[in-house]
């Protein structure tokens, strides 16, 4: 199993590598086009600001590669948001994998949402052995609007898409690598997905 974490200078990649290491799987961090293209599983992480992250992706041509990947891809946090149509953050166009938009929470709640919140309406094998209302760790100021491709929701100000799925593409707003045993289970499920 070759897992590649797309390394485009966005955030805490070490934690994801360590999370796979705890599962006994080596995950390589790389921005190499061919290495990514030939991986069995791809993690598209991201922490930071959307427009500068998108600029970095474009520099290495990864904005073109990601949407045409055929193997299971998991976007995490900003990675998932960048796989949507567009985000309000820096008025950035996304990769358009998921048919939804990303908006900012209003100031009726504390922004960023930081901490453990529950997930519900779980669909697909990504959530095998994960119970409804499980807690996951989230840190974000922007959220994806619920749509047909929503496979899990979280409530904060409103119900939003905390996980998305289309074909071989998955996205989660929470950080499985930091979400204790439930997060570990999700990463294991992602590895177990049959192509």
């Amino acid at each position: 199993m070759k897992v590649v974490i797309i390394d485009y200078g966005a955030g805490n990649i070490k934690s994801i590598q360590f999370a796979f290491q705890r599962l006994g799987v080596e995950a390589i961090a790389s921005n190499d086009y061919n290495l990514i293209k030939t991986a069995d599983r791809i993690i598209f992480p991201g922490v930071g600001e959307a427009s500068s992250a998108m600029t970095e992706l474009k520099k290495s041509g990864l904005d073109k590669l990601i949407p045409i990947l055929k193997q299971p891809v998991l976007g995490i946090c900003l990675g998932m948001q960048l796989m949507c149509l567009e985000t309000e953050e820096g008025n950035t166009n996304g990769l358009g994998v998921f048919n939804t938009k990303v908006k900012r929470f209003t100031n009726s709640v504390k922004v960023p949402q930081m901490g453990w919140n529950t997930i519900q309406n779980l669909k697909t094998n990504l959530f095998n052995n994960i119970k409804e209302e499980e807690y996951m760790y989230l840190v974000h100021s922007y959220y994806a609007i619920n749509c047909q491709q929503t496979i899990a929701t979280t409530n904060y100000e409103l119900s939003y898409a905390t996980a998305l799925h289309k074909n071989n593409f998955y996205g989660v707003q929470f950080h499985p690598e930091k979400s204790s045993l439930a997060g570990q289970q999700l990463l294991q499920n992602f590895i177990n997905i049959r192509e």
Binding site: G11, N12, K14, S15, P112, W116, N117, Y135, V139, S180
Partner: protein, 251 residues
């Protein structure tokens, strides 16, 4: 619902935890990594490591420790103490820290908060504020509460939010070490003033104190050291008590 967080704080000097710790059967209670693992398993939502080393060697050891902690634990953790530059933060985040906290360096150079949040994003920048009530005014202090500044606590809190802090860790030096409860008056004022999460620190002695700081102080998280380290409060018991009081917790 977003859960209120319980955060044990570990003081680390030259890569070793200090303060006596006797709550569990550890092979090595001075090893921050082993302690962190235990806390993660015992229900902590997050951890804070405070580096109190005073030497360059000590700081290097800290980076190494951060890497080993990230390797072992599956909950988020913050590293603070002696951080004063973009380079310091880059190294810690690269080593696997989720957040960093800055304190006196931000008071001395407030622009550091802007630089850090622009470079790394607000979500990983915690500003720690130590304050003491002097003549009925909350004044920001440095060096563990010994050196007063000219800053008013609430004005400073507002400013750090505007400069891009993602979270505030507020320690009341009047309450710290007293085990008489958190500074809930100041905390509830905070929650009206700023719109970023607030971690309450200083004064934890009983489970009821945590209930009060979440209900009366409106804190988003509560941090404590000795009550956890000495086994006076078990985190799972504490969370059950909070749940009984209708406070959302991850159990």
């Amino acid at each position: 619902m977003l859960a209120k967080r319980i955060i044990p704080c570990l003081d680390v000097k030259n890569g070793r935890t200090v303060k006596g710790i006797n709550f569990i059967d550890l092979r090595d209670a001075g090893d921050p990594v082993e302690l962190a693992k235990q806390y993660a398993e015992l229900g902590a939502d997050e951890l804070v490591f405070l580096d109190i080393s005073a030497t360059i060697e000590g700081r290097k050891t800290m980076r190494n420790m951060v890497m080993r902690v990230a390797e072992q634990i599956n909950i988020p953790f913050t590293v603070g103490g002696g951080i004063s530059s973009v380079e310091d933060v880059a190294i810690l985040l690269k080593s696997g820290a989720d957040k960093v906290s800055v304190n006196s360096s931000a008071v001395k150079n407030p622009n550091l908060i802007n630089e850090l949040s622009n470079k790394f994003g607000s979500q990983c920048i915690v500003v720690a504020i130590d304050a003491k009530k002097v003549n009925n005014e909350w004044v920001v202090h440095l060096a563990g509460g010994t050196v007063p500044t000219k800053l008013n606590l609430f004005e400073w809190a507002k400013e750090v939010e505007q400069r891009g802090a993602g979270e505030i860790l507020f320690t009341s030096m009047n309450h710290d070490g007293t085990k008489s409860g958190f500074a809930n008056d100041a905390l509830s004022k905070f929650s009206q003033l700023v719109n970023i999460p607030i971690i309450a620190s200083g004064g934890a002695g009983t489970k009821q104190h945590f209930v009060e700081t979440f209900k009366d102080g409106n804190a988003d998280a509560a941090l404590a050291a000795s009550v956890f380290h000495f086994g006076e409060i078990d985190i799972i018991d504490l969370k059950k008590e909070l749940k009984k009081n209708k406070i959302a917790v991850r159990l």
